[in-house]
Symmetry: C2
Subunit: 233 residues, 2 copies
């Protein structure tokens, strides 16, 4: 049926020695993965470039962020969050792809993909209740993983971050509403064609059956729909 995935985390070029930990209730190990410094620097720049679109940071502020040791490399298939579990972690995708999915009647329903430059604060972090859904890695990925405490700390130290978070959330909310509107007002075929325009990469890098539920249909329907589109041309 559904393959069980092994959580597997790694600090990215941390100055702190890498210690394998046993942590989750299910006893799955969090293991460090192999990384290199140039990769790490690329990721730092990616993060700071993103932030600079919202606020400009001093060196002190950049160092305060780096001191939080947020970078993690995560293997394809890793489950970051499980249904029924509590979590305080928010994610920012520097490289790779993660997804939200539900298991309903023994079937996976993928509802969202997060790729490069996408930020995700799971609902359970906000509601402080057990999670309704799973989050897992579609590809080997590099993420920042930050918990609520870190954010409270950094926000109170640097009001700039508070502002950035507000602007970012407002933007994402308005965009989510637009995506939702587009979904409601179009047919599965239109949705697929639209995705082909707006996120062509997703169709390449993501399995069809995950794409299908993302489009609100069954895998068989997506297959048929694609065939229909091809013969039209």
């Amino acid at each position: 049926m559904i393959r069980q995935e092994e959580p597997c985390y790694g600090r990215l070029s941390s100055t702190v020695p890498l210690e394998p930990k046993v942590e989750t209730p299910l006893g799955t190990r969090l293991v460090a993965s192999v990384t290199d410094d140039s990769n790490n620097n690329t990721m730092k720049n990616t993060l700071f470039d993103f932030i600079s679109k919202y606020v400009s940071l001093t060196e002190d502020e950049k160092n305060a962020i780096l001191a939080l040791d947020l970078f993690r490399s995560v293997k394809k298939g890793t489950t970051l969050l499980k249904e029924g579990h509590k979590s305080q972690d928010s994610y920012f995708v520097l490289k790779g792809c993660i997804r939200i999915y539900y298991i309903m009647d023994g079937e996976e329903k993928t509802t969202a993909f997060y790729t490069e430059m996408d930020a995700l604060t799971p609902h359970c972090v906000i509601s402080k209740a057990p999670s309704e859904y799973f989050i897992s890695c579609v590809e080997d990925s590099i993420l920042t993983v930050s918990n609520s405490d870190m954010e409270v700390e950094i926000n109170s130290k640097f009001p700039k971050f508070e502002i950035m978070c507000r602007i970012l959330s407002e933007e994402l909310l308005a965009k989510k509403q637009m995506d939702f509107d587009e979904f409601k007002t179009s047919s599965p075929e239109q949705r697929y064609l639209n995705l082909l325009q707006s996120r062509p990469d997703l169709i390449q890098r993501v399995p069809q059956h995950q794409l299908a539920s993302f489009l609100g249909i069954k895998p068989q329907s997506l297959s048929r729909l694609r065939a229909r589109i091809l013969e039209k041309k």
Copy 2:
């Protein structure tokens, strides 16, 4: 086809004299409506009760908000925002109901309803581009209407508001994702039954054809679906 609606605004018990204005490109009038002080006080309390869930305000801060003269009463049918127009206005519904709708192929597609205690910052305020959609009043309503400048001013004066806006946006974003997920993973019939549970008032106060597009289907399908549900029982 589609009835043209007359914009019609009114300050609520304002200290400023009520001046009818001619303002929109279409030359529609913005007229004051009849209100009374007790109503006004109720609305103030509703607003401050809402805010108090996020931050606690001093009298000074409350007065600073009141000084912005945000309250407006709006008649049923009033168009608050038109497709193609730019706007800086955000809304908070104290009483009544407003909706977002698109006009596609000469047909209205309603994608969202905002009722008591709902906040709405239109996409065009964030994107600073012309609006993709309309916003209009489903019922006679009382709103707060605030523009970006006001928010910048009040946020810089009272960092508390910045924090409140951040928390609120984060909450709304997480909730919107959940609503979107529910929509994607259920059939029109399930969506209707779910709405019956979660927002039973909406089904009473909103016309069926608006509900239909909100549920992502045609009015005929909603009618049929309701009949189907009835005969099942």
